[in-house]
């Protein structure tokens, strides 16, 4: 169960160039749902210690009410890296599949 106005956070690392694309897609998806896209909190992960503390499995990571929109596996390595996503057709991507992103947002925000 998520709170009425859950926090939406994008965790990013400067060594990965996908932040801008991921943020644009996230903001568009929120706007489509009547949610102010400016609610997205950007949080930089800059050190290994921060990555460990946040259990950061790569950039970008999107969390709604503190929960990863695409929960990583228990064995996924924590650290400063670009995150591997899989598109609906199975291809590897540095950003979430736009359709899956919207489905997960709908699930988390209802």
């Amino acid at each position: 169960m998520v709170e009425a106005n859950p926090s939406i956070c994008l965790l990013w690392w400067e060594g990965c160039p996908s932040t801008e694309a991921a943020l644009a897609e996230l903001r568009a998806a929120l706007e489509e749902r009547g949610i102010d896209p400016d609610v997205v909190e950007m949080r930089e992960i800059a050190t290994d210690d921060e990555a460990d503390r946040e259990r950061f499995v790569g950039s970008p990571t999107i969390r709604v009410a503190g929960h990863d929109l695409f929960p990583p596996g228990d064995t996924d390595p924590v650290g400063l890296s670009c995150r591997i996503y899989h598109l609906a057709d199975g291809r590897v991507s540095p950003t979430p599949d736009p359709v899956l992103l919207r489905e997960e947002l709908d699930r988390r925000l209802k």
């Binding site: 160039p17 670009c82 995150r83 591997i84 996503y85 291809r91 991507s93």
Partner: protein, 175 residues
Amino acid sequence: MTVGFTVPAFDLTDTEGGAHRLADRAGEPATVVVFTCNHCPYALAWHDRIAAVARDYAERGVEVLCINSNDASRYPADSPEAMRARVEAERWPMPYLHDPTQEVARGYDARTTPDVFVLDGELRLRYRGAPDADHDQPALQAAWLRGALDALLAGEDPDPAETTPVGCSIKWKAG
């Protein structure tokens, strides 16, 4: 690393233990050096396109040499063992070389995975950058890389000769 200049020599070992001296490529039509890795989504997204280039141009005397320079102590997915496992599982058509000191990556001023360098028979840099314009568009088929090779094999200058490499940063060792 400037287009037109001779690139630094290297002598690296592949996942099967084979030695690869860049100097041995002198006089060959073209050589492609690709800095890549196992854990980067950009490198993975472009991989099949680069492998297809290796297959398609082999008969024309082109060899593709992939190099992993990442710090495997911090990124275990880039360890020699993981490199070997991937080459076997995916049946790579090109050697995957390990750069344990990162000296080769530094010598080439490699920035990302992937970062592509096309060399002529005199081991001069003739193209440097991304394989094509979009990691998310397999239909592009590494068009910039293929275009550079086609130009070089036709005795012409690649155009563009340089694009911006896009991908994950090279994972340098601390200190």
